[in-house]
């Protein structure tokens, strides 16, 4: 009897040790690559090729070089401008649309919702040459406006979809009194729905911002000069003296600069983001 109890205790201890190992493995897997980028960004010259795990002699040269030798400050400004404008336009357009789709009953509403969901599934490459033609016709090639325009393809369906779901969940009584008083829809949206939807709009806007900030294919194709590039394109195209000696320290420094604020944002809003992702279940 005593033997079986102690063997059960032993087994439990082994299981919990195994669980600790599993958690350690998960942490190592998810965190090590970015940790290694930070370490590498603090190394210069031949030290970059050391594989010791601690940056014993941190060197900030790579960070200075990114801003000195590349228009990286300009690239960050471009990304901020494009992503902010896209979020503002997408939210403004989708608020009214979400009111119509979430609160009004009309024929074809479901079909419309499914079509909008379908647009968010578009492979970006399928609109690339058509968009390129449109952007050249409008004279927007190699400007941030080309990106603002094209990013609405993947942000707008997402914001409409998520805001519609939120709007649909609000109780009907909310607007009934206002309708009785003869309030117009615009007033109802502004006075009643906007304040209630503010948290949802923050979440949706944040996710749309991240998607725009990270976009690569359109930015790579619709910009040409280094000054017009956004951050992902700038990082992807940082090059050294020859194709075979990429300045890895510099690439890692640029990567760390643009990723730290994103990680901070995501961690600060993690509960809302998880809710938004689960609701929209739109791209990762």
């Amino acid at each position: 009897m005593a033997g079986s109890v102690s063997s059960r205790a032993w087994r439990r201890r082994a299981a919990s040790a195994g669980f600790c190992l599993l958690i350690a493995a998960i942490l190592f897997y998810t965190l090590f690559p970015f940790y290694w980028a930070i370490v590498s960004s603090l190394r210069s010259g031949s030290e970059l090729f050391s594989i010791s795990l601690l940056p014993l002699h941190p060197a900030w040269g790579n960070y200075a070089a990114v801003f000195r030798d590349e228009p990286f400050a300009r690239n960050i400004a471009n990304s901020m401008l494009v992503a902010s404008l896209v979020v503002l336009i997408a939210l403004a357009l989708s608020l009214g649309a979400a009111y119509a789709l979430g609160r009004l009953r009309f024929t074809g509403r479901r079909t419309l919702l499914m079509t909008i969901l379908g647009v968010s599934m578009f492979p970006q490459i399928a609109v690339l040459s058509g968009l390129f033609a449109l952007i050249r016709t409008l004279g927007l090639y190699d400007t941030p406006w080309a990106l603002v325009l094209s990013y609405l393809i993947f942000t707008l369906p997402f914001t409409v979809w998520v805001l519609t779901a939120f709007m649909h969940d609000l109780p009907r009584e909310l607007e009934e009194a206002a309708i009785m008083d003869g309030a117009r829809p615009v007033t109802i949206i502004r006075r009643i729905f906007l304040p209630l939807l503010a948290p949802a709009m923050v979440t949706t806007g944040l996710l749309a911002f991240i998607a725009s900030w990270n976009e690569f294919l359109f930015a790579l194709t619709f910009t040409l000069t280094p000054e017009q590039r956004t951050v992902p394109v700038a990082i992807a195209l940082i090059s050294g003296a020859s194709a075979h000696e990429l300045p890895w320290g510099r690439i890692m420094a640029a990567s760390v600069i643009v990723t730290l604020p994103l990680i901070a944002l995501v961690l600060a809003f993690q509960h809302r983001i998880i809710a938004g992702l689960t609701l929209g279940a739109v791209k990762g």
């Binding site: 669980f19 998960i26 942490l27 998810t30 690559p33 970015f34 290694w36 594989i51 649309a97 119509a100 009004l104 009953r105 009309f106 024929t107 479901r110 919702l113 909008i116 379908g118 647009v119 599934m121 578009f122 492979p123 970006q124 490459i125 399928a126 609109v127 690339l128 040459s129 058509g130 033609a133 449109l134 325009l149 609405l152 393809i153 707008l156 409409v160 979809w161 519609t164 829809p185 990270n214 690569f216 294919l217 194709t221 992902p232 990082i235 992807a236 690439i251 890692m252 643009v258 994103l262 944002l265 961690l267 998880i274 689960t278 609701l279 929209g280 279940a281 739109v282 791209k283 990762g284």
Partner: protein, 315 residues
């Protein structure tokens, strides 16, 4: 899919039955007008930035258009016929399918392990959950660069560690060698998107009632039994949603492959192939035809997905 259920109409019927037939008709008409007015700006923008470019791309596929070239001429199915005879295209199709199957399977497996671990109570759980989100918060291009650096043939830490441990005789050029290029990008994609799958699955796990597990424990079920007869069936909807979204994303993959391996034919996806034709070779007609075929593939998968979504709702 949860969204779809919520959006199902049921509340507006009350109103029409309460007031008579004629005011109801007038009300319905007014609602239609209001809806149209609120939808018009959004639909107008989508028509300009999505519908028109898509139709234009499809049209380009039937022409011999070139970047900066003269006026395009209609050449019928010529581009599509050449594509179907182009071994480069078929290689990219096979690569994309292998990439999608492997990366989605890997993400589902890893995501499941992480979700099950995070579903247990342990001290510091919220910190671990925050750590799991980190790869998702890192821009795709940056994750591609992080891994390209770790996988570097000469200076990469992965080669260094594997050689030190004696697991490799000499360093491997992971992203350049034909046999490992595709596998490398699968690993990077899995790293980047596992958090998304894990969080979706975790959300699914957390709504499974605890009593079910208590009952299973009383009945003396083993952990594996509990997993296969309780957890997995109840997690099916969340798992399917995650798998389908990931599959659609994987089929159109561009960033990770382009940044890590460039135009290496061993790992080229359909999107990378189409862009190479469009931009590098300036063959807008041929590239657009390739893009159109990819669009058709994704559209078919999407339709299957929407159908399946409808089925889950009935169930």
């Amino acid at each position: 899919m949860r969204v779809l259920e919520k959006i199902r109409p049921e509340r507006d019927d009350r109103q029409s039955s309460r007031s008579g037939a004629r005011p109801a008709a007038a009300l319905a008409r007014r609602r239609r007008v209001t809806a149209a007015a609120f939808l018009a700006p959004m639909l107008g923008v989508l028509a300009v930035v999505a519908a028109w470019p898509l139709l234009h791309t499809i049209w380009f596929g039937f022409t011999n258009a070139e970047l900066g070239g003269g006026p395009a001429q209609f050449i019928g199915l010529h581009n599509f016929a050449s594509l179907l005879a182009d071994p480069g295209w078929w290689r990219s199709v096979v690569n994309t399918l292998i990439f999608a199957a492997l990366s989605v399977a890997l993400e589902a497996a890893l995501g499941m392990v992480i979700a099950l671990a995070l579903n247990r109570r342990f001290p510091g759980r919220f910190l671990v959950r925050a750590a799991v989100i980190v790869p998702w918060a890192i821009p795709t291009v940056v994750s591609a660069k992080l891994w390209a650096w770790m996988l570097n043939d000469v200076f990469g830490i992965i080669n260094a560690v594997l050689v030190d441990l004696g697991l490799l005789g000499r360093p491997v050029a992971w992203v350049a060698a034909p046999h490992t290029a595709l596998f490398s990008v699968v690993l990077v994609d899995a790293w980047k998107t596992t958090p998304f799958v894990a969080l979706l699955l975790l959300a699914g796990l957390q709504v499974i009632p605890g009593e079910l597990y208590e009952a299973a424990e009383i009945d003396g079920a083993r952990p594996a039994q509990t997993f296969f007869s309780i957890t997995l069936p109840l997690l099916r909807p969340a798992l399917l949603v995650a798998l389908i979204f990931r599959t659609l994303d994987a089929l159109r993959v561009f960033d990770i492959i382009y940044v890590i391996a460039g135009d290496n034919p061993a790992s080229m996806s359909m999107s990378v192939f189409a862009r190479q034709q469009l931009v590098e070779f300036q063959d807008v007609g041929y590239g657009s035809a390739a893009a159109t075929l990819l669009f058709v593939v994704v559209a078919i998968v999407t339709v299957i997905y929407v159908r399946a979504g409808g089925l889950w709702q009935e169930a």
